[in-house]
């Protein structure tokens, strides 16, 4: 009996272990700081988009909540961090960032009750409605937000009073990347925790989830709130690194782009948003250089092709690739032999 319990513990721990693919991914991500010094601007935008997409993946990929309104949290926190910097209320960027995340999460909590009920379509409409309303409020109160001209006169103090946001965007990019990494690690912990497992069970079968004692409603409220916080942090990063905030933070396009990113990258495995953001940004950049006016045509074409090939099939390719890599890894470095007997080799 004891050995079975050990098996169980070992297997459960192993599923949360960082894979070689993940480690390589992050080593490369941080290496870009030295590899592409001329590309900080687009790299920074990519990191922000990746964090933003991560927030949508948390609710869409893990809890099955579809949303066209993540921009509401992005925008609110964007303006919040701009205003507190402009009026000198919170001058230290990291503290302001955390506060912006909390503010966005608070809005997420309040609006989460709207998305609990209803089908995917009503959720799309409700989330879209919330972001439209906020966008219009920001437009209406232009004395505070600067309206269509955007929020002017934002000055961001150095991070921890030491690292100034330089002209080349070096520190800005490092800042975004570190924040992305911290948020990612948190999201990863969430996914592999009992809480994360309960979310997947709700997405998989809500009826059964409640029949085994899971308070479905509160779990959805929790993850929606957390995801809103992440979206808010992404929005605050944009304002802080550009020292500017305009009405387009609330735009429908921003939320729609996010769905595109997740369609490209895939949902429900955390890296979808990250990989999708990289592909999307660099595709956009590359195509825009070729045909500045018609880049959206090509993005549209890519989208159609992806849908035609099917995400499932692409995920299948990735799975095959991973399996091959895992087999290679197992051959190169034999891990503890106990794992083999506890794992799939037993049958």
């Amino acid at each position: 009996m004891n050995t079975r319990a050990d098996d169980v513990a070992l297997y459960l721990k192993r599923r949360a272990r960082w894979s070689p693919f993940e480690i390589a991914f992050w080593i490369f991500a941080f290496a870009t700081i030295w590899l592409f010094p001329g590309k900080y601007l687009i790299l920074k935008d990519t990191a922000i988009l990746a964090l933003f997409a991560l927030s949508l993946d948390l609710i869409l990929g893990y809890a099955g909540i579809i949303s066209l309104g993540q921009a509401a949290f992005f925008g609110l926190a964007g303006y919040f961090s701009g205003l507190v910097a402009k009026y000198g209320l919170i001058t230290e960027p990291v503290i302001a960032l955390i506060c912006a995340g909390v503010v966005a999460a608070a809005l997420g909590f309040v609006t989460s009750f709207l998305v609990l009920r209803g089908s995917d379509l009503t959720r799309l409409m409700v989330t879209l409605g919330v972001s439209l309303m906020l966008g219009e409020l920001a437009n209406r109160y232009s004395n505070i937000t600067g309206g269509a001209d955007g929020l002017q006169g934002v000055e961001i103090e150095p991070i921890f009073g030491r690292f100034r946001f330089d002209l080349f965007g070096h520190n800005g990019y490092v800042y975004c990347l570190v924040v992305l990494f911290i948020c990612f690690v948190m999201a990863r912990r969430i996914i592999y925790s009992p809480f994360g497992l309960s979310l997947r069970s709700i997405k998989g079968n809500t009826l059964r989830a409640s029949a085994i004692g899971i308070p479905v409603k509160w779990r959805l409220v929790s993850i929606y709130t957390v995801a809103a916080g992440f979206a808010g942090i992404a929005g605050a990063l944009l304002t802080q690194t550009t020292a500017f905030c305009s009405l387009d933070v609330f735009s429908l396009e921003r939320s729609a782009d996010l769905l595109l990113v997740l369609i490209i990258g895939g949902t429900g495995y955390l890296y979808g948003g990250l990989i999708g953001a990289v592909i999307y940004k660099f595709l956009q950049d590359w195509i825009a250089n070729l045909t500045p006016q018609y880049w959206q045509f090509w993005i549209g074409l890519v989208l159609v092709v992806i849908v035609l090939i099917g995400r499932e099939r692409m995920a299948g390719w990735i799975r095959t690739l991973r399996a091959v890599l895992a087999r290679l890894g197992a051959r190169l470095g034999p891990r503890s032999p106990a794992l083999g007997s506890a794992g799939t080799e037993g049958h």
Partner: protein, 251 residues
């Protein structure tokens, strides 16, 4: 005191009475079966008991406590768990993850978002015990979607059992299980611990009469006969109901 008692339970769907004046009492530790012909309202009753449906009238008491107004997950926490007639499983999770989920929920770490699943000895020991009890050890790493049907059926019960209920409602546990896998399933059900009260909703008369110590017959949404298996078997009215159904089916 009965562990489960319904008093004048009633459910109306528009003009149809799916359950009427159901007074059911299940004694602690009992092996109680609820049977009835197709459309008798068995599933309606179980949905009322577990809180999936709201009754139009009457009361439900669990260990003397009125639970009529409670939500499904609250009833689970009070010690009542169920299985489903049609599998309701988490297809993309493995049996290990599914059972781990239930056990973590029950031990109160369902809101724990920082600790990894499987780092608490209490949780892993219990998962291991359940995996053994339900003969799932050799498939515990496979995604649920690809398990043989008999194993899925076992997992269906394992998930309910992992809630550590004092009352377990089994909704046609043997339905659709192929002959080869049937024995394992029936043996597992027979070996459920005696301190868990079982209310079995079943079509399969072999299973009912080999398992139950008490049988309630439901016809047209109302309790028809209630008694020991041999009494029920002898009861001419029960025979008439089932025979009538069979005659109708044969014609």
């Amino acid at each position: 005191m009965p562990i489960l008692q319904t008093i004048g339970l009633e459910k109306r769907f528009g003009g149809i009475l799916a359950a009427q004046n159901v007074n059911l009492a299940v004694e602690p530790g009992a092996r109680h079966a609820l049977i009835g012909p197709n459309g008798a309202g068995k599933t309606t009753v179980i949905n009322l008991l577990t809180g999936v449906l709201r009754p139009s009238g009457g009361r439900i008491e669990l260990e003397g406590r009125d639970i009529t107004g409670l939500l499904p997950h609250q009833r689970v926490r009070l010690g009542m768990a169920r299985t489903f007639q049609i599998n309701q499983l988490f297809l993309d999770l493995t049996p290990l993850e599914s059972i781990g989920l239930v056990v973590s929920e029950r031990l109160g770490s369902g809101t724990d978002w920082w600790r990894l699943v499987g780092t608490k000895a209490a949780v892993t020991n219990e998962i291991a015990e359940i995996v053994e009890r339900f003969h799932l050890a050799d498939v515990m790493h496979e995604p649920t979607a690809i398990l043989p049907y008999g194993k899925q059926r076992l997992l269906e019960i394992a998930l309910a059992f992992a809630c550590r209920p004092r009352l377990l409602l089994l909704d046609e546990p043997a339905a659709g299980v192929p002959e080869a896998e049937r024995h394992e399933l029936l043996a597992t059900i027979a070996a459920l611990p005696k301190d868990v009260t079982v209310l079995l909703i079943e079509h399969d008369m072999d299973l009912v009469f080999s398992f139950a110590q008490r049988i309630s017959v439901l016809v047209n949404g109302a309790l028809f006969v209630d008694g020991a298996p041999d009494e029920v078997a002898r009861d001419p009215r029960v025979k008439a109901v089932y025979l009538g159904e069979e005659l109708a089916a044969n014609s």
